[in-house]
């Protein structure tokens, strides 16, 4: 059970404490600055915020005193020679019969999308736009790009060494367009609690990849995934996971909220199966949260389809499955059911021992103390919420 929440918002980092009078926000930290992700490293208590500065470039900020003071860090950066194959948003007048030659661009950090604290003390992973996975082994003082993933054949091969030797199969994410590029992004980094060398990452728009050797080699694991926007729904790459997580107590159970529905794996992502149920509006959405110990239990916050991307019919609800997606229960008690046009971003739902919290881009934050069945509003006037994490 956690009595503290950390929110990354459009206008700063918010820490909320559970008190006898309910959840109380502290004065905002990083006031006025956009924070794409904020979380606490459970191993040493360090608080982290991924700063999404509009002017100054993405940076990290950390607090080793529980949020009293923050230290600004600039070390996370792409190394010289890191390049990617440029992609362009499809345009109506594109001629698909014309093969355009590859053009290359030097990678610069556009956004730190997610941080994961796992493995030996001091090891931290960062997922970024334009599709780089970074690792620090010294508590964030220095970072290095994971080159095997950056140089993967699915991305054209080792572009440090020369031009592409294979076809790029990683697509750009619309989430990158605001940064002036159409590039992939790593938004999910999941480390197997049984074996820190076994990790999954999820990429918009490519799919899920896995390593068993601490990041030296990577393989796609998208078998069973389907999509509804490509002629071949069963491609190896080209999927659009919105968020991927696993059950810490049953790590072969993975959950994926995808652009094309909710997917579940009970065999360590060797295969996925679609467990959406449109009859109860469980299909499209961004976040998904897994239970701590029960591999068959997860929560989603469904949204209208990709053409609307807001609450379904003006009401926010949370859906929970306790049987591996065979069935879904929907819960609305305490959540607005009229004139609600909120959307919950991919990192803005979290669960810890039956406490569930969600934050919306409309600045509304709700907490459930009964595994998602009823909800209490914590506030309605927060900045747009990018991430919610129990401390």
């Amino acid at each position: 059970m956690s009595d503290q929440l950390i929110l990354g918002t459009r206008k700063g980092t918010l820490i909320l404490d559970r008190t006898a009078e309910g959840w109380k926000p502290r004065p905002i930290a990083h006031a006025g600055m956009s924070v794409s992700y904020a979380a606490r490293d459970p191993r040493d208590g360090t608080l982290w915020a991924a700063m999404d500065h509009a002017h100054w470039g993405p940076k990290l900020s950390r607090s080793k005193d529980g949020g009293a003071t923050w230290e600004h860090l600039s070390q996370l950066a792409y190394p010289a020679g890191a390049r990617f194959i440029e992609q362009h948003m499809p345009m109506p007048d594109d001629d698909p019969s014309v093969e355009t030659p590859n053009t290359y661009k030097d990678a610069t950090l556009l956004k730190v999308w997610m941080l994961t604290f796992a493995g030996p003390p001091g090891t931290i992973y960062a997922g970024t736009l334009p599709g780089g996975l970074f690792v620090s082994h010294d508590g964030g003082d220095s970072w290095e790009l994971n080159r095997p993933l950056w140089n993967h054949p699915s991305r054209g091969g080792d572009l440090f060494a020369g031009n592409a030797t294979s076809r790029n199969e990683w697509g750009g994410t619309p989430a990158a367009v605001a940064y002036g590029e159409f590039v992939p992004g790593i938004h999910s980094i999941v480390v197997d609690p049984r074996d820190a060398k076994h990790m999954y990452i999820a990429v918009s728009c490519a799919g899920v990849a896995e390593t068993h050797d601490g990041g030296q080699t990577w393989s796609p694991c998208n078998r069973g995934m389907t999509n509804d926007y490509l002629p071949d729904p069963n491609v190896e790459w080209g999927h659009d996971p919105h968020f991927v997580t696993l059950c810490a107590g049953a790590p072969d159970h993975l959950w994926q909220q995808n652009h094309s529905g909710v997917f579940y794996s009970d065999d360590g992502a060797k295969s996925w199966r679609k467990v959406s149920n449109k009859d109860v509006a469980v299909d499209f959405g961004f976040p998904i949260a897994a239970h701590d110990t029960d591999g068959k239990t997860a929560w989603v916050v469904p949204a209208g389809g990709d053409s609307s991307r807001m609450s379904v019919e003006g009401g926010i609800f949370v859906a929970r499955t306790t049987d591996g997606g065979e069935s879904w229960q929907t819960f609305r008690k305490g959540l607005p059911q009229e004139h609600a046009y909120d959307i919950v971003y991919r990192h803005a739902l979290d669960q810890r021992a039956g406490r569930v919290c969600l934050g919306t881009t409309t600045g509304n934050v709700y907490i459930s103390e009964d595994a998602g069945e009823s909800w209490t509003c914590v506030g309605n006037n927060f900045p747009p919420v990018h991430s919610v994490r129990f401390a």
Binding site: H55, W56, G57, P79, T108, L109
Partner: protein, 90 residues
């Protein structure tokens, strides 16, 4: 030496930052010296490739620098340099 002034927004990240004289024959050399004096500051002004960040401006006198890629603009000994956030930012 050029006289450099900064937007106050940078002071929240680098509290010791203050207007003053900084050596450099070009804007690049000046930014490099600033980064030496204030480790990390260079990464707020330029990206990893050394380009001026999209929403940052450097003026020499009243004119924005011409070379945002390599910052090769030359600086006269009495140049006045302003490092500002661009109005284009979010």
């Amino acid at each position: 030496m050029a006289h450099v002034s900064f937007t106050r927004h940078l002071v929240q990240f680098f509290p010791k930052l203050a207007a003053g004289e900084v050596p450099g024959a070009t804007v690049r050399e000046l930014v490099s010296e600033l980064n030496r004096r204030h480790p990390g500051l260079g990464g707020y002004i330029t990206d990893e490739t050394g380009r001026l960040r999209r929403h940052v401006n450097i003026f020499v006198g009243d004119e924005p620098i011409g070379d945002r890629i390599a910052l090769s603009d030359k600086l006269a000994p009495d140049a006045k340099v302003f490092i500002l956030q661009a109005l284009s930012g979010g």
